[in-house]
Amino acid sequence: MNCDRCQKLYLLKLDGQLSPDQGKQVQQHIERCPSCQKEIRQFQALYSELEKEKNFSPSEPILQKIRQEAGQYLLSLENKTSSYLPRVPVLLPRFAYALAVMAGIFFLISIFLPTMERWQMSRLKTESPFVLPQKTSQADFEETEKNFRDVYLVKVKKNAENTFSIFDKTVSLAKISSEKYYFSFTLPIKNSQDTIKDLESQVAEII
């Protein structure tokens, strides 16, 4: 331990904040070091001199004013809590609350957006001449064609924005973003002998 460190630790020792182990080290250093002994004697002398004059008190009228203010604040607090909502203690900086509100709004949007889309789709369904315009993959298309005789899936090609051709007929549909879709229509099929031409005419009729 060097002298500088020893003197700093001695100041901490005066605070009573030194561990017994450190206290012992400081003591050992002081016993061996005459310059630290001198320095510390001076510290002690200054400390005791400084400690002497510190018994000034504020005057009683000032203390009385402070007590009054404390009482008034308490009253205002009671009035507030009785007429308004209880005071919310400030636990976090204000921007944290702002962030939380924004996060809440985003959360609500993320929940309601799909719901709104579904609602729009259902509106489409009722307005559209088709029973079930529904996005399906090529595999689904083949699967459905095999299993259900009464469900026909018709290949639709995108012509331009929002326009699709089904058997050379042009129909308008709601906004669809992808290039190519397969839509399934449920059509009344009389029997298995029906040809694609019959189907074509039925679709044309519906459109």
């Binding site: 605070d15 200054l46 002497k52």
Partner: protein, 206 residues
């Protein structure tokens, strides 16, 4: 009375604040009692004028009362209140642009004596007569030298001696490490001692 004192010490500042905010004014009285002397001495030593010190003292408590709802109960109330006091004192000193030092030819107004000026004191303070330097005069010199210390050293010394904060609490008030606070105190003490030695008062302190 004794039981009261014992009870007071076992209750933390945060508990007293809780009690006060729940409507118990006695908790505030206890808190005021706990800090009135330390806080006032601290401010008085900074400012040097009783009237101004009382105004600032009242202002500090007023701020404390109105901001208690924002105080996070972290067991560092003493650091908080002395931080407020420190800021107010520094504001005051900046505004008035004069430190609480006494110019050489100005008479000490606060002391009830025969109008002895610092000049006379130093002139008479030759090594041969140093033992005659009155205790009160040593105090005066000391206070003057404290006022002349660099701000950072003065702040640590004030917080340690007059506010009676530990170095750990001082480090919270000044936002520095304990080691830095210790170093500043060490410099302040050495500085004071050297200045007093120049004026031939050091022998008195031994």
């Amino acid at each position: 009375m004794k039981t009261n004192e014992i009870r007071d010490k076992s209750i933390t500042d945060d508990e007293l604040i809780d009690g006060y905010l729940r409507g118990d004014i006695h908790c505030f009285d206890d808190l005021l009692k706990r800090y009135e002397v330390k806080l006032f001495n601290y401010i008085y030593r900074f400012i040097g004028q009783r009237q101004e010190a009382e105004n600032i003292f009242q202002d500090v408590f007023s701020r404390v009362i109105n901001h208690l709802a924002y105080y996070r109960k972290s067991g560092k109330f003493s650091a908080w209140i002395f931080k407020i006091a420190l800021n107010r004192c520094m504001d005051h000193l900046r505004k008035h642009k004069k430190i609480a030092t006494l110019s050489l030819n100005q008479q000490y107004s606060s002391v009830d004596d025969q109008g002895c000026s610092l000049e006379n004191l130093i002139v008479s303070d030759t090594p041969s007569s140093s033992t005659e330097v009155h205790k009160v005069e040593i105090q005066r010199l000391l206070q003057e030298e404290i006022a002349c210390l660099p701000d950072k050293q003065k702040q640590v010394l004030m917080l340690r001696i007059y506010a009676e904060l530990s170095f750990k609490e001082i480090s919270h008030v000044l936002h520095c490490s304990i080691n830095t606070a210790l170093a500043r105190m060490q410099y302040a003490l050495k500085h004071l001692r050297a200045r007093l030695k120049e004026k031939g008062v050091v022998d008195e302190l031994r």
